[in-house]
């Protein structure tokens, strides 16, 4: 236990990096994923097709290979980004956007066609039918899948360790190398750190779901 306590500061800073990676990638991939979803469900065939190709390609590529593209391939193409943080966020966002897009799309698809037809029939404009009828329902349906995408993102930040980002998993490897006798304890401490982050996101999702629940 002594080792973990005496290096607690270092562990916290590693988790701070994990958290930064998570928050930045979450914001970027939520924005980009939403745009992708808009392209996929939108009326422009070329964009819909391009979005579908992007999602299929990225979803079937391991995150580690995406990291290889950003950290190894891009410098070869002389498109290097200097900051490790930015590279990590880019790789995580490229990957997560595809899943965000699918979550959003499933939310929109969960709204029955009749809802939109009824709102048109009573004379609502496009903006009204979107803002008052379709999107509120889609938003509610999107919370649970989006929460699981974000939880997966927290866990995926650990892949950065293999590419020199000194986040929590990287730090745990260092700790267990320095102190071989306390390995299980060190592992457990770091695991609990991740579990706390995961629980915060899932508690947030449950809260949102409860707040937005409608009496049916």
């Amino acid at each position: 236990m002594s080792y973990v306590i005496s290096n607690f500061e270092l562990m916290l800073s590693a988790f701070r990096l994990t958290l930064e990676l998570f928050v930045l990638s979450a914001v970027v991939s939520l924005v980009f994923g939403t745009l992708l979803a808009a392209a996929r469900v939108g009326p422009v065939p070329v964009l819909a097709r391009a979005g579908a190709v992007y999602v299929t390609l990225v979803r079937n590529t391991p995150l580690l290979v995406v990291f290889i593209f950003v950290f190894v391939v891009m410098p070869q193409l002389e498109m290097n980004i200097d900051s490790f943080m930015a590279k990590g966020v880019l790789a995580l966002s490229v990957y997560t956007s595809a899943f965000v897009c699918e979550a959003m799309r499933s939310g929109i698809n969960s709204v029955p066609l009749g809802q939109a037809e009824a709102s048109r029939a009573i004379g609502l404009t496009f903006t009204q039918s979107m803002g008052l009828v379709v999107l509120p329902q889609a938003l509610r349906a999107v919370v649970p899948p989006l929460a699981s995408v974000l939880i997966a993102l927290i866990k995926n930040t650990s892949v950065g360790a293999a590419f020199g980002l000194a986040e929590a998993t990287f730090r745990m490897k260092g700790f267990t190398n320095d102190n071989t006798s306390e390995r299980p304890l060190i592992f457990l401490t770091f695991a609990i750190g991740y579990i706390v982050l995961v629980e915060i996101v899932s508690a947030g999702a449950i809260l949102l779901e409860r707040r937005w629940r409608v009496a049916r």
Partner: protein, 273 residues
């Protein structure tokens, strides 16, 4: 075609969509052209860079030491994970609290912990030196993680079997164990199978994490090739292509199995992130 979001387009809207289509097609082509030009400019199309991928020796290495090892790792861990998932899932369904709580704890723990953290811990604690080695470290890590995910799938699958089935089985005098093995499980497995196969895709993608502990598989073979030939770009493209094709084939099988077994009835779908 009318959808939730917009009505069937009239002539003016169709003309507008056509303009957007052309603009976006041009933009996408420009993007692709830019990437192509970057590749050309940095000499990625030279024959030497692609040579390993037309040399039988390296193709064999990619397919046998790479793809086959990766598939072996994925399938052995999935088979072990199905067993573990059944045990944990049964445990979670148990009426005995002393059985239910530990199973719940194990499932929640391994689902929330990043797989890479788990693999690193297993490898550096039990794997190096005379230990179990990197291959089994990855397989065990994958088994614990996927087993916990499948425990949830298993529980949900059993719960999705209509209640009347188990009630009828109890009514004709079956024991709890019999009800589970000869009534609930055969029906539950049908519902679960697509989710299990899509978990295979997840496991296959996750085997790539073995890269960090130098486990055998596609990523290690790939690294070996690009270290030897300095052809990072072609290697990464080939690696991604192999993963994508393999996963698409697996997903295609999953859809087939789903059609055949369930006839489009209710199935569990995992998000697979």
């Amino acid at each position: 075609m009318s959808s939730v979001l917009f009505d069937a387009a009239g002539p003016r809207a169709r003309a507008r969509y056509r303009t957007y289509s052309i603009i976006s097609a041009v933009a996408l082509l420009l993007l692709l052209a830019f990437l192509g030009w970057r590749m050309y400019d940095t000499g990625q199309f030279e024959y030497e860079k692609w040579e390993p991928f037309v040399t039988p020796e390296y193709i064999r290495a990619l397919l046998v030491d790479g793809l086959l090892q990766t598939l072996l790792m994925a399938f052995s861990s999935i088979i072990l994970a199905v067993v573990l998932g059944m045990v944990l899932g049964m445990g979670k369904l148990s009426e005995q609290a002393w059985l239910r709580w530990p199973c719940w704890l194990v499932v929640e723990f391994f689902r929330a912990v990043p797989l890479l953290l788990l693999i690193v811990f297993i490898y550096f604690t039990y794997g190096i030196g005379d230990g179990i080695g990197s291959y089994w470290s990855v397989v065990i890590g994958l088994t614990l993680y996927n087993g916990s995910v499948l425990a949830e799938v298993f529980r949900a699958g059993i719960n999705a079997v209509p209640k009347g089935q188990s009630e009828a089985a109890y009514a004709i005098g079956m024991r709890k164990f019999q009800v589970m093995t000869s009534v609930l499980m055969p029906q539950g497995v049908k519902i679960m199978l697509p989710a299990i196969i899509s978990q295979c895709v997840v496991a296959l993608k996750d085997t790539s994490l073995g890269f960090y502990v130098a486990a055998p598989g596609l990523t290690r073979v790939g690294k070996g090739i690009y270290v030897e030939f300095a052809n990072q770009v072609p290697t990464a493209i080939v690696l991604a292509a192999i993963y994508i094709v393999t996963n698409l084939v697996l997903s295609w099988i999953a859809t087939k199995v789903q059609r055949r077994l369930t006839g489009e009835r209710k199935v569990l779908v995992s998000s697979g992130a």
